[in-house]
């Protein structure tokens, strides 16, 4: 990871940073408290982002459910965000996926629970067991 240089510029020299600085700057500036950004800070942030992408990809692949399987999947990433403390800030944007049928079942169960609570407020004969 020490030599994360990718691509070459017009003169054939290895580029220091591949990600477009203008785009990185737009993202940085969208942060409300930030007034201005020194060019060096911009270059380092871009570089750090590249290192981060590689770190996330490599960690997720290693922890993935199939090293034999020659693919990196969304689930690998989501698991990594959940399990590794260093990537926990990503947990909200990389949520676990569940089957639609399971989600609908969860919704139904929640709805049933709510109904039971409302009923016991009316004081019925109590033959409904709490699940």
């Amino acid at each position: 990871m020490a030599d994360a240089v990718a691509g070459r510029d017009k003169c054939g020299e290895p580029r220091l940073v591949s990600l477009p600085l203008s785009r990185i700057r737009v993202i940085m500036k969208s942060s409300p408290e930030v007034s201005s950004i020194n060019q060096e800070a911009l270059v380092l942030t871009a570089k750090a982002t590249e290192l981060f992408v590689q770190h996330l990809a490599a960690c997720s692949y290693r922890r993935g459910s199939g090293r034999e399987r020659k693919a990196l999947t969304y689930t690998d990433l989501s698991k990594t965000a959940e399990e590794l403390e260093t990537f926990q800030f990503l947990a909200d944007i990389l949520p676990k996926k569940i089957l639609a049928s399971k989600y609908l079942k969860m919704l139904k169960e929640k709805r049933d629970e709510d109904e039971e609570e409302n009923d016991s407020g009316d004081g019925n004969d109590g033959d409904e067991a709490e699940s």
């Binding site: 990871m1 020490a2 994360a4 990718a6 691509g7 220091l16 940073v17 591949s18 990600l19 477009p20 600085l21 203008s22 785009r23 990185i24 700057r25 737009v26 993202i27 940085m28 969208s30 942060s31 408290e33 930030v34 007034s35 201005s36 950004i37 020194n38 060019q39 060096e40 800070a41 270059v43 380092l44 942030t45 570089k47 750090a48 982002t49 590249e50 290192l51 981060f52 992408v53 590689q54 770190h55 996330l56 990809a57 490599a58 997720s60 692949y61 020659k70 693919a71 990196l72 999947t73 969304y74 990433l77 989501s78 965000a81 403390e85 260093t86 800030f89 990503l90 944007i93 990389l94």
Partner: protein
């Protein structure tokens, strides 16, 4: 400059290439995974910026500088990035110094009409912030960077 939603995303082709460099040859990346990593990268930039900004504010500065970014990496527990980032910073400074010397040389060769060349150095910058940042850069280069 108004931000369109797509401007907060990073280009897919570059992201894909960076991912591939980190994985063994022949490993595929699902489209969903690639898109997720791209989003994660944007979130990382925001998190790093916010963190770096805290250091700038502590130092009573309004401009984020290189040492703020390095401090942010430590704070975020990405110490592993610090050494490669310092190397990149040195390489960048050498490059900038080289460009500066080259253009100063041209000034000597021609007359003072070559002031416009200073603008060519940084293609990625917004023009309105150009001069402000160039002045601050020179100021910052003189400041000690924490090691």
């Amino acid at each position: 400059m108004a931000e369109r939603p797509e401007d907060l995303n990073l280009p897919n082709a570059v992201i894909t290439r960076i991912i591939k460099e980190a994985l063994p040859d022949g490993v595929n990346i699902s489209k969903e995974a690639r898109s997720a990593i791209s989003r994660a990268a944007s979130v990382f930039v925001l998190y790093a910026t916010s963190c770096a900004n805290n250091f700038a504010m502590k130092g009573k500065r309004k401009t984020l500088n290189a040492s703020d970014v390095l401090s942010a990496m430590e704070e975020m527990e990405f110490q592993r990035f610090v050494t490669p980032l310092k190397e990149a910073l040195e390489a960048y400074r050498r490059e900038q110094k080289g460009k500066k010397e080259a253009s100063e040389q041209k000034k000597k060769d021609k007359d003072k009409k070559t002031d416009a060349e200073e603008q060519d150095k940084s293609r990625d910058e917004d023009n309105e912030e150009d001069e402000e940042r160039l002045e601050e850069e020179e100021q910052n280069e003189e400041e000690e960077v924490d090691n």
